[in-house]
Every structure is written in structure tokens, then in C-alpha cells.
């Protein structure tokens, strides 16, 4: 019988199944960071247990680490203790790899895993972080878990799981100029809502997906959780294989050839049945901007802020009103008229080399608008930073007036010093525009790296292609 990719991955990892369908699923890769692991290690120690297989563990510090003045260390004592606790736990128990604070390979766990080759097709990948869905770009069964489950995986190398329903999101055609994987992700969430994928594992398929780079696929799978799906995934193709070739933890030589035989089967079979199928046309998608406090509150750059009075559903209408109040926006104002205070380019969604190249292309030879108080670029990892610097991207950003920082999660969730002040408005390449996410009272608009870069230059939202005509208009007396 034809199988979906998810069904193949599920079947390949079932150790044992209970009568009600609850299965014991084997975990190949366990990614660990400092925020959601200390209580798990503590629980393990209290119970007198040891990790089942430390060679499954890759760990790094990312959420609390500062993005500047590394010479001063981590100045916040509470953050420092959490990072040091990770150091101690890895020192005591071991890991396949650990990239601590200041290590040249340190970075956001969902950037570091794939770039090191620790994320390989066909794996189950878990991490105490909801954006673990990112790794599904490599045809992995990858999802976020809570700390109790981190402890469970440490102790047993397994998780207790119920099978998810399957959803296929087919995107035909080719994304237009200036339209990115981020815009596609936001457009999908805008249509199905933040609970639209609840209970499902989403597979992204179709010509527009095959046309995406691995970086783009990671951005898309990363945002699956914002559509409510714990997992997003993409089948293996030559793009996947080309990306993995030669990565430090990817197989080499004969093992590589054997792996390829297995990996090339990691796709949904012709005629496989999904519980739900949704179709999108790539050419219909325009650059997206969120206007509210949930990723589903999103419209295209050409649109206006929606009017709650047009919403028939009372709970939704009230939610829209509350969001507009929080965001300090008026219904029906054009998205292009929204003026920004800060710009953040970074996060596990959009901080990979391709994201930085795209943003730099928009910025090159231009200046950040004087009304922008801070424009920040935070590379996803030390290796992304090195690569960008070798291409001169840091100089492009700095010359324009951006700050070029050290890697980490930074202002995506503002656990470190990078944050919005109450009332500040930010164009952000991150993944969540929840109330207070980037700092108490902060106002977040989610966009692609290109759109964030263009907003930094213009001081308000606009498409990169419009920047030249804007500057012409400013010159005209």
C-alpha cells in the first residue's frame, strides 16, 4: 500500500505499541539547549538514572547568550547560572558534540544541527523547543517536547507518542521575485490559522517546494508549529543530498553511498492518502506582513489593516480589537504606512546564510532611515557569521547603519538584553508576534529578511523593489 513520508518515518521508529495505539518511538537525535534541560538533568540525577545514549546528544547554549561584548561574559547572573548548568550537565554526562558559549560553532540549536550534519534524513529529532519542526526539512520526524519528555528521552531514548493525522500542503508554480519561504509560511498560516494544523504532521510538496533551497525549506518547516502542527516535513531530493554532502557529522565514503539508498526512499509514494490536502498557487502569494498578535493575523504588503467590524465571529472580532489596541494600529490603514522603530534580522526562522545574503542585497549601498533607532543583524551561528564575513556581508550591513552581532536567539524571544521597550514597533524576521514576545509591551510585525531590510531603509513597510522610487521621490523638491 502506498505510504506517506510521515507513515514511513513512523513505522521505521516504532519499538512497541500499546493496545490504544500509543507507541514507544525511538529517538535518533536529541538536541539540547540551556533553557529546557536543567530540570530534566536534575530529575535524571534524583532518580539515579543515566542517559541512555549520549552519542545521540548535540547541545549548545543559545537562548540566554548575549550578542555583544562577549569579553564581558554573561552579565545577567540568572542567565549565566542557566548556561553554566548546561556546561556542568554535559561535562558530567557527555554528548556527541557540545558548542558552548563563545565556541566558534555555537549558535541557535536549529541552525547548528543542520549545518553540522547532525540532522540527517530519516531521523527522529527532538528538542525542548517548539521550533524543532525546522529539521523536518530533511525528511525527519522532528518536533518540540517539554522538559519531562527531555528527561524521558535522556533516560530511555524513546518517547510515548500517538500517531498524528497527515496533511499535505501542495504549492504549485514558482514563487515570484521577492517572495520567499517566509511569505509562503505566513500565507499558509493566514489561511489555515494557528490551530489549522493541530493534530497533524504537515508535508509540504509541489513544484514551489522543490524549488526552495534547504534554507527556505527550513524556514517553512520551522513555521509549521505556528500553524499548530508539531511537525512539518519535506521529502528528500537532490537539494537535500547536495546540502548534506561533506558536513562534519554526515556519513562519508561507503557509509554515504549506503545512506543515499535509504534516503532516496524518503518521500510519499504515488497515490499515498493524506487525511487532509490543501492546495496553494505560488504565483498568488505576495510578500506578507503580520498586523496583530498571532501569526495568523497576516495580510499582504498591498493590503490594509483589517477592520474588526467586518468579522462576523464574536470571539474573533474581540480578539482582533484587542490585537489592534495592543499594536496601536487603526483599522483600514495601509500596511505600507506602518512606521517602525526597530528592525531585527535573525532567529531560527531566518538567520541562515541565504537569509543574510538576501537582506544584504536589499541594503547594499543604502542607509537605514534616521527614524529607525536600532537595526540588528544576528547570525544564526558562529559558522554563518564567519561565512557572511568572508563574503563581506558584515561590511554591507554596518555601512548601512545596522549593528552586526554575535549569534544566538536574541530578540526573537528577548531572554537576553536584546529587546523591545513598551510601545516600540519592530519589523522582525522571527516567528512569533505574541504580546510581549520581544519585550513587555513591544509590537512585532513578522516579515521576510528582504522585507525587514527594506523596512529598515524606508522606515516603514515597503517592497525592496520600491526603494529606488522612494528615494527618487525624497530627492524631488
Amino acid at each position: 500500500m502506498p505510504q506517506t513520508l510521515y507513515e514511513k518515518l513512523w513505522q521505521d521508529h516504532v519499538v512497541h505499541q500499546e493496545a490504544d495505539g500509543t507507541a514507544l518511538i525511538y529517538i535518533d537525535r536529541h538536541l539540547i539547549h540551556e533553557v529546557t534541560s536543567p530540570q530534566a538533568f536534575e530529575g535524571l540525577k534524583l532518580a539515579g538514572r543515566k542517559p541512555w545514549r549520549v552519542s545521540s546528544i548535540m547541545a549548545t547554549a543559545d537562548h540566554n547568550t548575549p550578542t555583544d561584548h562577549w569579553d564581558r561574559g554573561i552579565e545577567d547572573p540568572v542567565s549565566r547560572l542557566q548556561v553554566e548548568t548546561l556546561d556542568e550537565n554535559i561535562r558530567e554526562f557527555g554528548a556527541l558534540a557540545y558548542f558552548p558559549f563563545k565556541d566558534p560553532r555555537q549558535g541557535i540549536v536549529h541552525v547548528v544541527g543542520p549545518e553540522s550534519g547532525a540532522t540527517l534524513p530519516g531521523m527522529t529529532v527532538v528538542c525542548g523547543d517548539s521550533h524543532t519542526s525546522t529539521h523536518g526539512a530533511f525528511a525527519c520526524m522532528a518536533h518540540g517536547i517539554g522538559t519531562s519528555e527531555v528527561e524521558h528521552v535522556l533516560a530511555t531514548q524513546c518517547l510515548l507518542q500517538k500517531r498524528s493525522k497527515t496533511m499535505q500542503i501542495r504549492v504549485s508554480g514558482v514563487l515570484g521575485q521577492g517572495v520567499t519561504a517566509k511569505d509562503l509560511a505566513l500565507a499558509v498560516i493566514g489561511r489555515i490559522g494557528t490551530a489549522g494544523g493541530t493534530g497533524f504532521a504537515i508535508e509540504f510538496a509541489g513544484s514551489a517546494i522543490r524549488g526552495l533551497s534547504m534554507e527556505g525549506r527550513m524556514t517553512l518547516c520551522n513555521m509549521a508549529i505556528e500553524a499548530g502542527a508539531r511537525m512539518g516535513m519535506v521529502a528528500v531530493d537532490e537539494v537535500t543530498i547536495d546540502y548534506l554532502r561533506g558536513r562534519p557529522y554526515a556519513p562519508q565514503g561507503a557509509a554515504w553511498d549506503r545512506a543515499l539508498v535509504v534516503w532516496r526512499k524518503l518521500h510519499s509514494d504515488e497515490g499515498a492518502r493524506f487525511d487532509s490536502v490543501l492546495d496553494f498557487v505560488a504565483e498568488d502569494i505576495r510578500p506578507q506582513v503580520t498586523w496583530g498578535t498571532s501569526p495568523e493575523m497576516v495580510v499582504s504588503i498591498d493590503a490594509c489593516v483589517p477592520d474588526p467590524t467586518d468579522q462576523p465571529d464574536a470571539v474573533k472580532r474581540e480578539g482582533m480589537g484587542r490585537a489592534l489596541h495592543y499594536m496601536g494600529l487603526q483599522p483600514n490603514m495601509p500596511i505600507r504606512d506602518i512606521r517602525l522603530d526597530k528592525v531585527f534580522i535573525g532567529s531560527c526562522t531566518n538567520s541562515r546564510i541565504e537569509d543574510l545574503r538576501a537582506a544584504a542585497d536589499v541594503v547594499r549601498g543604502r542607509k537605514v532611515a534616521s527614524s529607525i533607532q536600532l537595526a540588528l543583524v544576528v547570525p544564526g551561528s558562529g559558522l554563518v557569521k564567519q561565512q557572511a564575513e568572508s563574503e563581506g556581508l558584515d561590511r554591507v550591513f554596518r555601512a548601512a547603519g545596522f549593528e552586526w552581532r554575535e549569534p544566538g536567539c536574541s530578540m526573537c524571544l528577548a531572554m537576553n538584553a536584546d529587546r523591545l521597550e513598551p510601545g516600540e514597533r519592530c519589523a522582525s524576521t522571527s516567528n512569533r508576534n505574541f504580546e510581549g514576545r520581544q519585550g513587555a509591551g513591544g509590537r512585532t510585525h513578522l516579515v521576510s529578511p528582504e522585507m525587514a531590510a527594506a523596512a529598515a531603509i524606508a522606515g516603514h513597510f515597503c517592497e525592496p523593489a520600491m526603494l529606488d522610487s522612494l528615494s527618487e521621490m525624497r530627492k524631488t523638491p
Binding site: V15, T156, C158, L160, F434, G441
Partner: protein, 212 residues
């Protein structure tokens, strides 16, 4: 984990959809390396008028009088009533830890986000899914009844209203057993240690690159 068999408690209504885990427990409190002590910072940005910091004395902070948990009639609530997609966003288990530490043992909603839903069961909190119309009726009931209580019976999978009406709910048999008995998942899984070892050895031979 504490058992969950039957709960008879006061209901607090949080009339919003899509309540995310950043709202349940803001990021600055995730720096703790402990499991306990998150209760005073549950819904911190809605509950207080200032911005909270970890390690602060919360008893002297200005409360937001209009926030539901600050209203006298809902003091001592152990059941939270809310709308759809509760717990969306991050995987932080600090969210159920904060609810538990505050005193909640059950959350009733039209739907829950997957990871949060799962995390509840690991901490002895029962997430109860009811239909939109049942939820609407409960909001009306709680609004009209001072210190309204509900009885949640996990054994019979029923929510009983003060007027005697009973609302049935579904729950996975395995998760129900674990909650009713207060079982530790890890202990249960380790009964299958031999199966796990055998699976692992076979996998190591078939796909050795996964173990490099």
C-alpha cells in the same frame, strides 16, 4: 506526579482564544533552573501593572484589578475555563508548571495546542476538551454564578455542573490510566528496556551512520 481522579473546584473564566505560552509564563521567568515557584508569575503581563522580573517580591507589585484571577470571586480556583487553541506557541513546560503552582489542576477549553496538551499530562493537570456550545454555556454559567464550581470525574470522563447536567469528554485510555494512578512515564517505559535495546542494535546494523 500527583494522581488525578476527581476534582471539585472553583472555576475561573479566561475568555480569550489562542492564549499562548508567552502569555502564560513570560520568557524572563524561564531562566530558572527549578520546576517550582512559577505560580506568582502565571499570566504575569496581564496580572500585574508593572513588568515582572525573576527573583522579585511579587506581593508588593501593583495588580491589574480587571484581570480575572485578581477578582475576589475567583480566589482559590482550581479549574481554568478558556477558549480554543489554549497553550499555543512554545514547548516550555514552565507553562503547565506555572498553572499547577498557582493551583490549577484542570483546564477546560474547546481545543489545545499539541505540545502544551501533552505537557499537561506529564504534570498531573487534566486538559478537558468540550464543544464550542458547551464552552459557551459554561462561560454564561460561571458569569451568572458566584464562586461557581464544577466536578470533574476522570474515571467516568464527565464534567458535572451545579445544576446536575453532565458533559462527557474523551481522553486517551493510556493517558487516563497514567493520571488515575499518578504513574511515572519513565518507569513504565523502562519496563521495555530489552525491546529498546534490541531495536537499537538492529538499527545500528542497518543504518550505522545514525550512530556515528
Amino acid at each position: 506526579m500527583d494522581k488525578f481522579v476527581c476534582l471539585d473546584g472553583v472555576v475561573a473564566p479566561l475568555d480569550r482564544a489562542n492564549v499562548d505560552t508567552d502569555a502564560i509564563i513570560p520568557k524572563q521567568f524561564l531562566k530558572s533552573i527549578k520546576r517550582a515557584g512559577f505560580g506568582p508569575n502565571l499570566f504575569d503581563e496581564w496580572r500585574y501593572l508593572d513588568v515582572g522580573q525573576p527573583g522579585q517580591d511579587n506581593s508588593s507589585r501593583p495588580l491589574n484589578p480587571s484581570f480575572v484571577l485578581n477578582q475576589p470571586r475567583y480566589q482559590g480556583a482550581t479549574i481554568l475555563l478558556t477558549r480554543k487553541n489554549f497553550g499555543c506557541g512554545s514547548s516550555r513546560e514552565h507553562a503547565p508548571w506555572a498553572l499547577l503552582d498557582f493551583g490549577f489542576r484542570a483546564v477546560i477549553a474547546e481545543s489545545f495546542a499539541d505540545i502544551f496538551f501533552n505537557n499537561c499530562f506529564k504534570n498531573g493537570i487534566l486538559p478537558v476538551v468540550l464543544s464550542a456550545s458547551e464552552i459557551d454555556d459554561l462561560f454564561a454559567l460561571v458569569e451568572a454564578t458566584p464562586a461557581c464550581t464544577l466536578l470533574i470525574d476522570l474515571e467516568r470522563q464527565l464534567v458535572r455542573r451545579p445544576d446536575g447536567r453532565e458533559l462527557s469528554f474523551a481522553v486517551d485510555p493510556f493517558r487516563r490510566e497514567c493520571l488515575l494512578n499518578g504513574w511515572d512515564d519513565i518507569g513504565l517505559t523502562l519496563r521495555h528496556a530489552d525491546l529498546i535495546k534490541a531495536f537499537e542494535e538492529k538499527r545500528r546494523i542497518e543504518q550505522p551512520w545514525l550512530f556515528a
